[in-house]
Symmetry: none
Subunit: 223 residues, 2 copies
């Protein structure tokens, strides 16, 4: 049986070492290299030409998504799997858009590592079991069409301008009533915007929305 070669990319040495230790308990898998950021990862990938590359989402210098995109462009034969702690639908969509073949949560059971490897080696897409979302399933189903006709990428997951406005006002601490007053619309409409943006983002509480808004730079933690 042929060995599967893997490169690990994560900015935490201890985490890399741990995952390596887990992977190497299997005979078919060999970890041929490690990198601590995306830029290193690209040059390693060029040298080693591994079958699979695990990319941490959040890394300094060049993050996992950008790395996946460049890899997909330069070395399309290498499968990339994003390692992430976020369940937000937008990240997953972006990962798939970037050409990643997998999205694995850091909270996965160790067995999912090998499951992910087997899946992507078969040219399929692996998404952590814990992630359930119609949006994502729809996206995956639509993905092949998109890659074949290499045209317009789905804009459904993007918030509308009204939704974005509403999100910002929520994250800035406005109540539904205050938002309605500021936007000169009814409370009911604001409720609808909120419900719809929550559904799109897969985030169903105010605190999560605030953290999301901060993460994407819509607002800033200090004020």
């Amino acid at each position: 049986m042929k060995e599967i070669t893997v490169v690990l990319v994560d900015d935490h040495k201890l985490v890399r070492a741990g995952i390596r230790s887990l992977l190497e308990s299997s005979d078919e898998i060999v970890v041929v290299g490690e990198a601590s950021n995306g830029r290193e990862a690209l040059s390693l990938a060029n040298q080693l030409n591994p079958n699979i590359i695990f990319l941490d989402l959040a890394m300094p210098e060049l993050n996992g998504l950008e790395t996946a995109e460049k890899l997909n462009h330069e070395l399309p034969s290498i499968k990339s799997v994003i390692l992430s702690m976020y369940t937000d639908t937008e990240y997953i969509i972006q990962a798939l858009k970037s050409g990643a073949s997998g999205y694995l949560l850091k909270d996965s059971a160790p067995g999912e590592l090998k499951e992910a490897i087997n899946t992507v080696m078969k040219d399929d897409i692996y998404i952590s079991r814990a992630i359930s979302s119609e949006v994502i399933n729809n996206y995956i189903l639509g993905r092949k069409k998109i890659s074949q006709s290499d045209e317009i990428v789905n804009s459904r997951e993007i918030l509308t301008s009204r939704q974005r406005e509403t999100l910002q006002l929520i994250a800035e601490g406005n109540s539904t009533k205050m938002i309605a007053e500021k936007l000169f619309i009814s409370v009911k409409t604001v409720e609808t915007h909120r419900a719809q943006l929550m559904k799109k983002l897969g985030i169903y509480d105010i605190a999560g929305l605030v953290r999301y808004a901060i993460k994407i730079g819509l607002i800033f933690p200090e004020r």
Copy 2:
């Protein structure tokens, strides 16, 4: 030689599994339990009474610092080591103030794990080598008072432990009812805690509380 028993606490299963795999390559170390947040950690510590407990700094429900503090109070014989990706002095000082015996960066080499264990088992304090700082050493020696972020000092002095717990759970997106269930108290009590911490902080909306919690390092925006 007697075995050293260890409990691992981190909210990412994959990371726990990795570190466990690294630790168990040593004969003297046995990982007797795992938990995914501070609250689970406390009850595990009670059951298993391990020698050492590794605590991730950034965890849902009850973070590493709060957990170390409670552990130090309830089970002072257990040594706690904070696992963290942050080199900020504030966190290290807070860790030591909370009674932790060690502060280990996630970017450490795997060998540092055992080094940390050996050090704290001798009743010494272990701080990751990568953290350069006379400041820290001075603190350990007790020579200087460290000036830290006013916000952090204030929150620790202003809020009671229950209020900080409540704040963390709110900022993590738990409803009042969920918080009550997690803390095993009534919804009414949670409402009181919330009202009192809001009054103390002068912040009367959830979004503001989330931003505040992020600002003082109680929770982390990227989770």
